[in-house]
Symmetry: C2
Subunit: 418 residues, 2 copies
Amino acid sequence: MSGNRTSHIRLTSHPRTGAGVRFPVRWDAPTAQTRGPVIVSANAGADRNAIGAHGGAYSIYRALAISAGALDPAVRPELADTYPVVAIGPHPQWSTPGRIVSLDPWGARVASDFAEAMAEGVDIRPTIAVTKARIDLPEIRAGLAAGRLTVDGQVVHAAGDVAVTKVAIDPVWHLPGVASRFDVDEQQLRRTLFEQTGGMYPELVTRPDLSVFLPPIGGITVYIFGDPSRLGDPRFPLACRVHDECNGSDVFGSDICTCRPYLTHGIEECVRQAQTGGAGLIVYNRKEGRALGEVTKFLVYNARKRQPGGDQAATYFARTECVAGVQDARFQQLMPDVIHWLGVRRIDRFVSMSNMKYEALVEGGIEIGERVPIPPELVPPDAAVEIEAKKAAGYFTPEPAPSPADLQRTVGRDLTEF
Amino acid sequence: MSGNRTSHIRLTSHPRTGAGVRFPVRWDAPTAQTRGPVIVSANAGADRNAIGAHGGAYSIYRALAISAGALDPAVRPELADTYPVVAIGPHPQWSTPGRIVSLDPWGARVASDFAEAMAEGVDIRPTIAVTKARIDLPEIRAGLAAGRLTVDGQVVHAAGDVAVTKVAIDPVWHLPGVASRFDVDEQQLRRTLFEQTGGMYPELVTRPDLSVFLPPIGGITVYIFGDPSRLGDPRFPLACRVHDECNGSDVFGSDICTCRPYLTHGIEECVRQAQTGGAGLIVYNRKEGRALGEVTKFLVYNARKRQPGGDQAATYFARTECVAGVQDARFQQLMPDVIHWLGVRRIDRFVSMSNMKYEALVEGGIEIGERVPIPPELVPPDAAVEIEAKKAAGYFTPEPAPSPADLQRTVGRDLTEF
């Protein structure tokens, strides 16, 4: 029955008739057993009940490894000793209809929840992993040196390193739920996903009976500061930053945006909250360049710097729209899922000025206390253009939003000055 | 003719017969015009001559934007003012058969090279963008404070920020060339890519006439220090680090590996080389967790920490292989392409200890002078396990490689000690 175990290539599969599905997925069911496992491994044969592949885009490298003879396609992961370092959930949100549609809440627990089926040979793999780390950031060391943070031996250790629990999450989409979140027809969503990706996964169209899709997009990493069991417990205040990837700033410190300074400020807020009776949470989403990718981002930089009048806050969004056709493709509608997955109902200090993130969380039923802007001294020299344009477009700011005249006066570095 | 402009869904396309192809791709041709444009946009209709989508995985977000009504699928990028800030090439390597198989050497120049076809309405888009930036890293400031680096007003500015030229590159695979690089049959490669990704892009199998594939994997970012015209000019010595993404260390400073410290040391070496009559080059490849993804990486961390005897260098690679089926999926065979694209023939100081990267470059015809190991004081507390295991497995090291007894003595932090 499996396309890859015979010499016959099945170009696209169609709904099976006759015999029932062995492992149906009932997305919002209250237990792992009633929900059923998500099975997407290429060698799961007729048991596959989802579209896509494990590891998202890294399935391409896996295929290269197999093609080159370095990896046996039949091999299965040894999951002994890989189970989560702390249990997360189950929380009531996991089975509240429509609460979580873009990740598998049971994805970290497959080795225990579905041990029986796996022992029978069904290829079920985790889509979430939970581990521990010590992180050491120059910005946290600077906070210690300046007396903004202290060593407590639990959250912050003597050498300046910080203890965290961290979680990697691969996307798992429940297509009816994703369509509903965007208020579009599911069939239209499936068709657009298929066509606009140049024909990726015909099963999106041919298999309406399969409602789960593992898209090859980047996932989420969660960093938890302090005791993870405090998340979702109203006795413990929570600081949280939701951060969308920006490699140029997060890793290389580009001064055209506020990404890394705001991220490290968020980490500092999380550490402080964990040290003062609460907990901290950083959600890192792989959505480079507003989910438009880095090539588009660099094209936009050039267009911004070369336009008549220079790189002005007044035309900041227009330049992205000219090049990309859209100002932003991050779509925060799916973002609250991970917050629900963690059982969180209230964020006491939300370290983000984004109105889109704020609104998505509030609409998702998450209560938000204080909103914490980036301290002005952390805004890099060439990043005023971005932050002023965003404030004018609805970003949270304690001061009045900049006027049109302010925006025209805010001009960034010229290409000749780099 | 276009699947997305009518109500008819074409699940997979097949070689067209009769009329000739309007824009054939002759991969190794010496000029842009004789090579022809790579056309993959979903709305390019019958002109499409490649499999896949622009922006790789971000085509999924683009599809979401269209599905949600936020983006008109017919809109095309305004490329005015987006052209590269410096010209790169053309170099003889661009048309040397087999030299470059995983990126489009002409990908930054489409707006000028194919202006005529684009004016006629053909949807051709860049796959490479070249811009400038100023980067500000705490580690570089520390180097300045310690006197290891100096401000020169050109490469390093007074505030400690560093001028760079940077390049974003989306993958564009010439499938016959990729197959040849891995020494596998092209049809087998296409079939394995299709099957092991769970059926991504049937055209890999049904369209043997299309030899170009834009896979939805992450791309490359290049950072150039000093005058980019020095690259490939034997009068100017070149320092270079080829770095594979590690979000946990590169961004968050996890102390279980040497990634960020080695990267920032590489940047320091690049800055110094640019200040002393040469140039520097950082190649950043989006290959998280040895191209196995972050979920697998965190599963492996848990398996390493929980195994009997603790997290030993002696069993470092075995734990990855147990969980992933393979020790490493990065496949450095394609990595030299970007070095060739830049016209580089010799790296004077190669800031990497990886034997796999070294061998791939040397086999690709790149001369390598000195190999620069990570300074021992930069190896984080819990990263000795990794670095010692790698030295024993063939990593470059000026000292003798560790013995089996050394490896057994090198044990990392226990899960209870985080």
